[in-house]
């Protein structure tokens, strides 16, 4: 018997944080303009000590003003999608659930686009206006997961195949609406490929990073308070209830928080796919399926995965860029098929 201890959990997280750090350094170094490790270290120290003004080289500007914010965005988006995927898998009792596969990311994209369309017509304070897009994305995500949940029910039970089919069809339906909206509107709302495939190249205001960071911590923290309930929920709602889980409360918390995380990620990066599928499975394989470990390791793992994928997206055909979502889909779709076949076997 080797139950989880706080010490082991922290060690596992620390290991992943070290890997994340290495990945971040590599991501800062590589790109269309090569940067030496020495220059990188020197400039990063200057940023840390508040001497950004001394960074005069073009390299420094590229690293601090272009690559670093993009990497930060990748960390938040990856962590959010990964925690959302882990949560949906437990909530829907389906190992193949993922915000992208279930169409939730598309729903969030549509919500964000509608918010962007509505924004000029609304008279709201500027601070609130910046939050309209994430709010729209959250509502889009929440509405989609509710629709998919009801589509996936047969005779009062969730049927996992029907659920996945329902998600895929909902996703393709919403994508069609997005294509339609984008082709009839002016080109001011970013490209179709941003919303359907996702990318991290759009620069954001500094305040948005704060909003993303705090939003992530609050929503992921709320999900984490239900971590051991989620372990039992995997055995079924009835069984979880008999073991002492307040099932309706846990379902509501996880449903709202996971939709929020999806909305958060999609509103700034579009629909980056399969992160919420690949990362939880890899972490489960390495660390086991206890959600007290799985949720934090999936969050850090998601950050690692998206930063790596984005570095590839920036460098593979440099100076041209590929969507980060294209990179994650190239890895994720075959994995999805493998998992599906293994489950059917």
């Amino acid at each position: 018997m080797r139950p989880l201890t706080l010490r082991r959990l922290l060690l596992q997280c620390l290991l992943l944080v070290v890997i994340l750090f290495v990945v971040v350094v590599v991501a800062l170094k590589f790109g269309a303009v090569p940067v030496s490790l020495y220059a990188l270290g020197r400039d990063l120290l200057r940023v840390l000590f508040g001497q950004s003004s001394q960074i005069s080289t073009d390299y420094g500007l590229i690293v601090v003003n272009i690559r670093l914010p993009r990497i930060l965005l990748g960390i938040i988006v990856g962590a959010a999608l990964s925690v959302a995927g882990t949560s949906f898998q437990a909530l829907l009792r389906n190992p193949l659930a993922d915000p992208y596969v279930l169409g939730v990311s598309s729903g969030a994209s549509l919500g964000a686009i509608l918010a962007l369309i509505a924004e000029p017509h609304l008279t709201v304070p500027p601070l609130f206006a910046a939050l309209l897009t994430p709010l729209g994305a959250f509502l889009g995500a929440a509405a989609t997961i509710a629709a998919v949940y009801f589509l996936g029910r047969r005779e009062g039970q969730i049927d996992s195949t029907t659920l996945l089919l329902g998600g895929v069809i909902t996703g393709s339906f919403i994508s069609a609406i997005i294509m339609f909206l984008m082709s009839t509107l002016s080109g001011s709302l970013r490209g179709v490929s941003f919303w359907l495939m996702g990318d991290l190249s759009t620069p954001l205001q500094k305040s948005i990073y704060w909003f993303l960071g705090i939003g992530f911590v609050v929503a992921a923290g709320a999900i984490y308070t239900t971590a051991s309930d989620l372990n039992l929920l995997l055995a079924g709602e009835k069984e979880a209830m008999h073991l002492g889980v307040d099932v309706p409360r846990v379902r509501l918390v996880v449903y709202i928080a996971a939709s929020f995380l999806t909305g958060l990620a999609v509103s700034v990066s579009g629909a980056v796919g399969y992160v919420g599928l690949i990362v939880p499975h890899v972490m489960r394989f390495i660390f086991g399926s206890d959600h007290r470990t799985l949720l934090p390791t999936a969050a850090i793992g998601g950050a690692i995965a998206v930063v790596m994928a984005d570095t590839l997206a920036r460098t593979v055909v440099a100076p041209t860029e590929v969507s980060v979502g294209a990179v994650t889909a190239v890895v994720g779709a075959p994995l999805f098929i493998y998992l599906l076949r293994r489950r059917l076997a």
């Binding site: 018997m1 139950p3 989880l4 201890t5 706080l6 009792r93 190992p95 984490y224 308070t225 239900t226 971590a227 051991s228 309930d229 372990n231 039992l232 995997l234 055995a235 079924g236 009835k238 069984e239 209830m241 008999h242 073991l243 002492g244 889980v245 307040d246 099932v247 489960r284 399926s289 206890d290 007290r292």
Partner: protein, 284 residues
């Protein structure tokens, strides 16, 4: 700490004499309907019985007689349409899920797993109702889980994967998880369904011993007439949503009554130790 004393409940409830009633089902009824405007598809008519600590109650009856509904009502999963169910004086369905899980353990027919788990992880789930959501299992929890496995002779299964053990072994681990809940009331829904005869006897022997040692009140839904006669102190006989009789096996196992309920010719004889035995006769 010996196995049984570790599992015996440190209850804060007042000590009661062993003759006291622990479970009291009072005029409980229920109705299932597809929607509120329609006539119910199935009704459970007012049912009453009582059970003491250490007693095993078998709920018998053909399919669709209301056995599982009665069990769900007792577990608090369903709220009765009328009447009430008291466990040590508390109405079961108005307890919070957490308190209920500390008092009532339910062993279901099948326990499905989405991701692989080891037997010890599974048994520790029984401690969930005692921890806070972020708390890590204490030494007490681990000791109780170990003892629960030992009590069902499954200590050697502790590190095995749940999907790699036999049906009988799995059923024992599921029972161990229920024991780890340190319940007052143990509810089992057809626990012997997929077990071979040796495993059935083994499971029921364990139940008999555990009920005696730990003073659990046990309610078990079963189709096995002879196993119920052998192990139960009381039998609740159900037919089409009605509770026909409640009493010790010897008073319930009458040929005419059982033939009428189960719609099949059978013979009832008294075994050497005073418990009835049923033989199904060929209708040809």
């Amino acid at each position: 700490m010996s196995g049984s004393s570790a599992l015996a409940r440190n209850s804060s409830e007042p000590a009661r004499a062993s003759g006291d009633v622990r479970l009291s089902v009072e005029q409980v009824s229920y109705a299932y309907s597809a929607n509120p405007a329609q006539a119910p598809l199935f009704t459970l008519e007012a049912t009453s019985f009582q059970a003491k600590p250490g007693e095993i109650v078998a709920v018998l009856g053909p399919n669709a007689s209301g056995k599982s509904t009665l069990l769900k009502l007792i577990s608090g999963a369903l709220a009765p349409l009328s009447g009430r169910i008291l466990l040590n004086g508390f109405v079961t369905h108005s307890l919070t899920p957490r308190t209920r899980a500390q008092r009532i353990a339910v062993v279901q027919q099948e326990s499905t797993l989405l991701f692989p788990a080891r037997a010890w992880e599974f048994v520790l789930q029984g401690r969930h109702a005692y921890g806070r959501s972020l708390r890590f299992e204490s030494q007490d929890d681990i000791l109780i889980a170990k003892n629960a496995l030992a009590q069902v002779a499954a200590a050697d299964l502790s590190d095995r994967w749940m999907d790699q053990i036999s049906g009988g072994e799995k059923q024992r681990v599921i029972l161990a998880r229920a024991l780890a809940q340190q319940p007052l009331l143990l509810l089992l829904d057809e626990p012997t369904l997929h077990l071979d005869i040796a495993a059935q006897i083994g499971l029921l022997d364990s139940l008999r011993r555990l009920a005696a040692e730990n003073r659990y009140t046990v309610v078990v839904v079963t189709h096995e007439l002879n196993l119920a006669a052998e192990y139960a102190d009381q039998v609740v006989l159900m037919q089409r949503g009605r509770c026909l009789r409640v009493g010790p096996p010897a008073s319930i196992y009458q040929r005419e009554l059982l033939e009428q309920v189960f719609q099949t010719p059978l013979a009832v004889e008294l075994g050497s130790h005073g418990r009835p035995r049923v033989t199904i006769l060929s209708s040809a």
